[in-house]
Symmetry: C2
Subunit: 382 residues, 2 copies
């Protein structure tokens, strides 16, 4: 299978590219290195030093004999994107190539507009290019569990059967996204559903939960293959923040009460989910939606787990609460379906103490690279 990974230099894209390459896919990567540029903009860096993409693919070739072709450019440049599809003629395109930070999108108007235009135009260009060049190609698009928000009813996988005034229909699940970034993903989802319906494209929209962990079997094989690990307030997650705080002996900062509950998935499961979606493509005309997460946790629960492991490692950590920079419900109902990927064969790796210990030890190893002033929240939703 020929697979193009858009955003293949990023946190999810890089391990996915290696995993698919090892499984025997002919993998190519499209990336514009914006993720690296945002570190320059924000004065942040991956806790784990990472090699350049050309170093990465060269080392992969040396270690495995497998070639990963690279195309450096921007998906909002449709001529570039069309050229890549014409050269590669992929069977599947995995689309990670979006601005994926909620805080980044909430910095100001300019960052909100950039996020929505970048994500929406890149995805529109991709569906048009697939339609025109490789109409049978399967689009595997990364969405977010954050598209759903926190409704007071069960979250289903993309669609909901609704009974109303004695009639019924199956309709797209109503979305209540919580940031300009999450809104961009909702826009994408509507655009892709339309493209499948009107042009008979095939797509799988993966509403991914918060990804945790860093390395996979492939990225840990060599330092040059190491994956990035973000702990800053803009691109880091709550769990990564807690791990960095624990490593430097600072209190773990929970936003608000910490009752916010979300779906989580380990990076080793992300790569397997992408493989499963590719191995079982959507039908022509079908826009399939899977909820790609394996466990639910509240933020406070995560902080407690990190604190407990940190104590075993003789790190003195407290859990503290800081004013929530976001506008979100802090106590709410949350139950989201996530059976479709399991039905296809996913065996989840669950969050355990061993992994938390490994992550904290990794953060301790690179603790001189942690900048506390980049961890505490400065971007405000209001």
């Amino acid at each position: 299978m020929r697979v193009l990974v858009c955003g293949g230099d990023g946190f999810c894209g890089w391990p996915t590219s290696l995993y698919l390459s090892r499984q025997g896919c002919e993998v190519s990567i499209l990336d514009n290195f914006l993720r690296r540029q945002w570190d320059t903009e924000l004065g942040t860096q991956s806790l784990v030093p990472i090699a350049t993409l050309s170093e990465r693919v060269q080392r992969w070739k040396e270690l495995t004999g497998r070639t990963i072709r690279t195309y450096i450019g921007d998906m909002t440049d449709h001529a570039f994107l069309e050229d890549v599809l014409r050269q590669e003629r992929p069977d599947g395109v995995v689309h990670f190539a979006e601005q994926r930070s909620a805080p980044y999108s909430m910095i100001d108007r300019q960052h909100a507009v950039f996020t929505q235009v970048n994500n929406v135009v890149g995805t529109l260009n991709l569906v048009y290019a697939i339609r025109d060049i490789v109409p049978d190609c399967h689009l595997v698009k990364l969405g977010s569990m954050g598209e759903y928000g926190t409704p007071n009813i069960d979250i289903e996988e993309g669609y909901l059967k609704i009974e109303h005034n004695g009639r019924s229909d199956v309709l797209p699940y109503p979305k209540q996204p919580g940031s300009m970034y999450h809104l961009s993903k909702v826009h994408d989802s509507h655009n892709i559903l339309f493209a499948c319906r009107v042009w008979d494209l095939r797509a799988t929209d993966l509403n991914q939960g918060v990804v945790y962990g860093v390395q996979t079997e492939d990225t840990s094989a060599d330092e040059v293959l190491y994956n990035r690990f973000d702990t800053d307030e803009v691109f880091g997650t709550a769990l990564n923040r807690f791990i960095a705080e624990a490593a430097v002996g600072q209190p773990l900062t929970v936003y608000g009460s910490g009752g916010q509950t979300r779906g989580f998935i380990q990076i080793r499961d992300t790569v397997r989910c992408i493989e499963l979606a590719l191995l079982h493509p959507a039908d022509r005309g079908q826009c399939r939606v899977f909820n790609q997460f394996t466990q639910q946790f509240s933020i406070l629960d995560l902080a407690s787990r990190v604190a407990n492991v940190a104590k075993e490692l003789q790190l003195a950590v407290d859990v503290t609460h800081v004013a929530n920079p976001r506008v979100e419900r802090e106590e709410h109902y949350y139950k989201a379906a996530h059976t479709k990927l399991v039905d296809l064969g996913l065996t989840p790796h669950l969050l355990d103490e061993a992994l938390l210990r490994e992550l904290i030890q990794l953060a301790i190893r690179y603790r001189e690279r942690i900048r506390l002033d980049k961890i505490l929240p400065s971007v405000q939703w209001r």
Copy 2:
């Protein structure tokens, strides 16, 4: 009340500006004249010749003594938009300033991307400018009934109470928009709802049906005030197409079976609905949705009505069916709520033979300006 009408030179915006001015509002208009430029691009024109905006507001001043200030520029230029809000400090902004043609958005990739970027960025810039400059200002945003598509359940006004697995919530009504343009309106709706929730803005999202008619009491007062009347395939509606075809003795061309049913509203009711929304503003933090139409018709029903009136006028017209250039259900359930504007005081003008006669006679008066080659469909959805 100080009201800024964005897109105030257009088909809905111009009569709305005059109507609000006559009711005593202090009206200003923001427009970039893109609607006039699209006529140049497409080789089309308003069936009724229209004056320039500066001629229009000058004549209005001569006739009524009322001043309408004008700001010529683009809402995607945030510095320009912010300047206008700082100068005007409006109590209400009526936002018509979007690319509003489904076929235009479906011409090709470039037109789709333009439509979504133009509409989404203009609206994002507006909500940020309102937040930063006039946070108490009421945003009255034109959406479309086409955002809902044709679900097999009753369409409600923006939100739907959903019971699911023994729990319930009131959620945004699930949308199934049928073109890249309608998608842009759905994106706007999500963005505006978020802005109201996070920044305590106040907004009314008016999901307007297909607008018919041409003149209002104000625009018909003088030839220089005349409103535009589009009959071409891109910016004209089905009803306008039938009227133009009748005027030149051509068969009325129904797309497909003609069972497609939509909500319709007369231009004289559009201006009143805007006034009602402004007179009864949404609360801070509230994103209110009204369905702004007064009657439902199938396309075939409309063609029959036009044909009957045309026959009384001694015009020989048949109703014919042409291949549907759109991807849409041609036979479907359709029942949409539209009581909220009536509750606020709307007394609908219903479609009658007198109006159809008037429209056909208008088209006959300007029949030398009708270009048949611009009426038949060329833009294909597939």
